[in-house]
Symmetry: C2
Subunit: 216 residues, 2 copies
């Protein structure tokens, strides 16, 4: 599953360990019990979520491949209970891909939105031009890249358990988060729902603190 | 204690909880013992470090105030076992302060180093100019700031325990780390040594995996 996000980004499911039943099994270990019938198992998922017994959901783990602008990655990486590996601007040449916001992102501006885009594109091109000139002049990559802007796209692997993923959705699939990371959170939610439908439903019903996913 | 780092940055100790004796006390809890004489206490610190019993050092906690370029903060924030609070580009107007590398950072360049600085300063000024124009045009802060470059200075609070701080020093007070973050790591090490001299000495002797602090 690969979901396009923003103008050039994406969220891609690379790997997943477990599903709704992993949480059920983990919860039943305490009682030395096995899986029961579907109805009972599903009710247990609801029970856990309703009562804030969230640790059984840590046994479900996802790895995503994400392409996002640096300012989005900066917000994303603040979620510590997870693992990250990002493309390095020290070891590789960075490619020319910048996020250009859609017109509605500019709000009520005193100049036409097209002019705003033009200004952004212009300065971003100049930054990249300078980056290339510095590389050609022999400046090390790790130094040359400091002139690149925050809307440059980066890529990373994100491995996260379902509990921490739900915390991410609480905070980022919410209208208080920046609009751009909201779009990524909604894509993550779609994949989560697909892979763990019971957990997802119980989460939205009993534990979700945000607002965007109520309408998804 | 406030140590200047790079051209406009700093590391400042804001608060500290505990000292060498906190680790000694924590270690002795297991044996239901109190502090002994200085000689024995100090030897215990060495013993813990030599045998990798690092958890007692988690009871020593520091809060630092750091001013660093964004590309340094990006590397720093990868250290998850810590707490961060950073100045927000969504809620506040970002000030015009950019890191300009010293000449020796450019290596053997095909153009004179002064010309490299000129190129960097030029494009960085243009980015800031565009940022200001976008703000004046009414573009929201969180959108306007995406054109700003990675060498913009940011500020953050960093609360970290001594164990995680030592992991930071292992990785960042080392010649494999980028030169800029090395400078911050050396400043952190100075403050750490001042506040926890026994722990610092035992760390360098038995547990430090980097290379820069051997000469400090
Ligand atoms: C020279 C250098 C080059 C680097 N290059 C890259 C790069 O190209 N790309 C990139 O993405 N990163 C890169 N990094 C970042 C690096 O991968 C680490 O993310 C960063 O150094 C933080 O280290 P840490 O995980 O030990 O610290 P912390 O996150 O503070 O963790 C401290 C310790 O806690 C334990 N720990 C924390 N979380 C977990 C977990 N989820 N699972 C198991 N144990 C855990 C580990 O023992 C860890 O050492 C580089 C770092 C250095 C120093
Ligand atoms: C709308 C919005 C605005 C924000 N504005 C700012 C801002 O202006 N400045 C800023 O710096 N950040 C800001 N943030 C980032 C925010 O402060 C968090 O760093 C980020 O959302 C990660 O959340 P987390 O700590 O819950 O996630 P994780 O780091 O993944 O932690 C998951 C959970 O583990 C627990 N946990 C993890 N580490 C610790 C710890 N060391 N001590 C105790 N419990 C821990 C907590 O229960 C936490 O909820 C903002 C976030 C949002 C959503």
């Amino acid at each position: 599953m690969k979901i396009p996000v923003l103008d050039k980004g994406f969220v891609e499911l690379v790997d997943v360990m477990g599903n709704d039943l992993s949480a059920v099994r983990a919860a039943r270990v305490s009682f030395n019990m096995e899986l029961k019938d579907e109805e009972k198992d599903r009710r247990l998922v609801e029970y856990l979520m309703r009562h804030g017994h969230e640790s059984p959901f840590e046994h479900i783990v996802f790895t995503f491949h994400v392409k996002a602008p640096i300012f989005v990655a900066r917000q994303w990486f603040r979620h510590r209970i997870a693992s990250y590996n990002e493309l390095s601007g020290r070891y590789s040449k960075l490619t020319y891909e910048f996020y250009i916001p859609p017109l509605q992102r500019f709000g009520q501006t005193r100049i036409v939105p097209e002019k705003v885009i033009e200004k952004i594109s212009h300065v971003v091109n100049e930054s990249y031009q300078t980056y290339m000139e510095l590389l050609e002049a022999g400046v090390p990559r790790e130094v040359a890249r400091i002139v690149l802007p925050l809307n440059l796209y980066t890529r990373f692997y994100w491995t996260v358990n379902a509990r921490s993923l739900m915390n991410f959705l609480n905070l980022r699939a919410d209208s208080h988060a920046q609009w751009e990371i909201q779009q990524y959170a909604v894509a993550i939610a779609k994949i989560f729902r697909e892979k763990c439908p019971w957990t997802y439903e119980a989460f939205i019903k009993y534990a979700y603190k945000g607002d965007l996913l109520r309408e998804v």
